[in-house]
Each structure stands twice: as C-alpha cells, then as structure tokens.
Symmetry: C2
Subunit: 154 residues, 2 copies
Amino acid sequence: MDELDSAIVRLLQTDARQSNRELARQLGIAPSTCLERVRALTRRGVIRGYHADIDPAALNRGVQALVSVQVRPLSRVVIDGFKTFASGLPEVLHVFVLSGGDDFLLHVAVQDLDHLHAFLTDRLSKRGEITGFRTSLIFQQVSDTAPVRLPAPD
Amino acid sequence: MDELDSAIVRLLQTDARQSNRELARQLGIAPSTCLERVRALTRRGVIRGYHADIDPAALNRGVQALVSVQVRPLSRVVIDGFKTFASGLPEVLHVFVLSGGDDFLLHVAVQDLDHLHAFLTDRLSKRGEITGFRTSLIFQQVSDTAPVRLPAPD
DNA sequence: GTTGAAAATAACTCAGA
DNA sequence: TCTGAGTTATTTTCAAC
C-alpha cells in the first residue's frame, strides 16, 4: 500500500465505474500500469468488490431503524445462532456483533411503520435467546463513501 | 421500477463492475436496451453511484466501534451542528440521526484502541452539547450487499 | 421500449526499458 | 515495476421496428 495504491482506492471508492483509462489519467500513469495495480489490490483482498448504491425508496424501504439487542446466555452457540438468523432476514441490511452494553445492533429497512412493528413482534420477539431490545428510527443518514487510509499505528 | 429494473439493480448491487454486455446476457436482453435501462435508473436517482468495497485493515482501520450520543437541547441548530461536525471527522464512517433513546449513532473506524480512546476524549468530550455517549466495540459485521426490493405497502 | 449493426473507446497482452 | 503499441473486446450511437 504505497501512495499510488491509496489514490487508486480513494478514486474507486468515490466512483467504481470510471474506466481504467480515466483512472490512469487522473493519476498520471499509463493505463496498463493502473490496470495491474487494481488487479494486485484485488488479488491481495484490499478491494473486496464493487457495489451500486441504490436509493432505499426505490426498493420500497422508506423506513429504516437501528435495533439494539441483548441475548443470553452469551455463548458462542447463541451468538452465532442469532447472527445467522438475523443476517438471513430480508429486512436486515447489517448485523453488528458488539461488546459492551448491547450484544447486537441490527440495521433494518422496511416498507413502513406497520412492517417495522411486524418485524419486531413477529420476527424478533419469537426468539427465546433475546432478553431485550430497543429500537431507534433513523431520520437522516450521512455516509463517508470514500474513507481515507489513516496513518499506521506507531 | 418493473421486474427488469429490479433485476438490473440486484445485479449491480452484487457486482457494479461487470460489463453492460454481461449484464444484458444474464437478463436475456440486448446490450443497448440494458444500457438505456441503466441510464434511466441513474437519471431517476434510483442508482446513486458505484463504490468500491475496501478492506478496513488496508486503510489502517483495524478497530471499529459504534458510539451512541445524546445531545441537548434537541433543537434543529444543535442537531444540524453536531451532524455536520461528526460527519466531517476522518474517523467517522456513518452518522445516523435518530429518534428514541439516542439522538445520534456514530460508526467510527480507527487504527487501534489508543486512537479510539483519543477520538472519544479529544474529539467528542470537548463538544458542549453532548450530555452523554456510550461506546460499543464491533467484533464482527455481516452486511447484505444486495438488499432486494420489498413489496409495496398496501 | 427495443433491437442490431456500425463507429468510437476501452481493455488487455506482451515485449522491451 | 513501468511503459506503449498492437490486438481483442466493449461501449455507445442511431436508424428502424
């Protein structure tokens, strides 16, 4: 990961569909060099994939919420089981496995408030390992689509 | 948004860099038709962009955390001010503006635990509007990179 | 809307620096 | 590791359906 790799990563985070030529032009290098760099980054696992960013409204997901969940007992079996269950639900965008006060955070996106209520009561409440959960509606969301590389730890 | 649009969106969520030809082949339509559909989806704002998915470790962001934050007073000025402040910090990946128990959730990614501590004490604690925050470390994360379109609300 | 074929661009390969 | 020219493939346009 030299400066050139960082610059490539930054540009592809911002716009993953720009051509290799355009990428090379912005970096001041030959297209073949740029292509080889991108391939090396992919081979090394630095670039994990490319995804289109879709407006949630177009997917009929006008309501988003964050649900923090506590489960007991905090065993590997229970944690892995709930993680697998939650990540398989169509309403769930992200599952975070946490330490601290909460054990899980679920980022969910549904059609409307009725469906959010149904999700909480029909899906979550039926799981015996859940000892409590708390729901916060998302009003706004700001995302950094191109997080930069930070200085290496000393 | 007919079935064809949904299929295009799903394929581009999974792999945004596949060629238009390949996309058209999978859908059983002509490349020019596919191109026109993609352009229409972009024009309508359904497709908002394309982003490379980068391994956080390559960006020296080995430690991720979720920080729930309460601010007071809950006025528009304070909310907008904190949102702008938080989204401008290099450590912050996402800012969620919430209702309910918490006012904000920050998804942060930093080099190590020392930097997380520094972020909490040097950045957050200095803001007068913050009346409390709570930090959870992220151990694992599962993401649905291709959320499907849900049935429209009745 | 959709299509197929032509023209314009880009991707990819590879030998040499 | 980088480059540039040659080959292969794709994108893009557009007239017709």
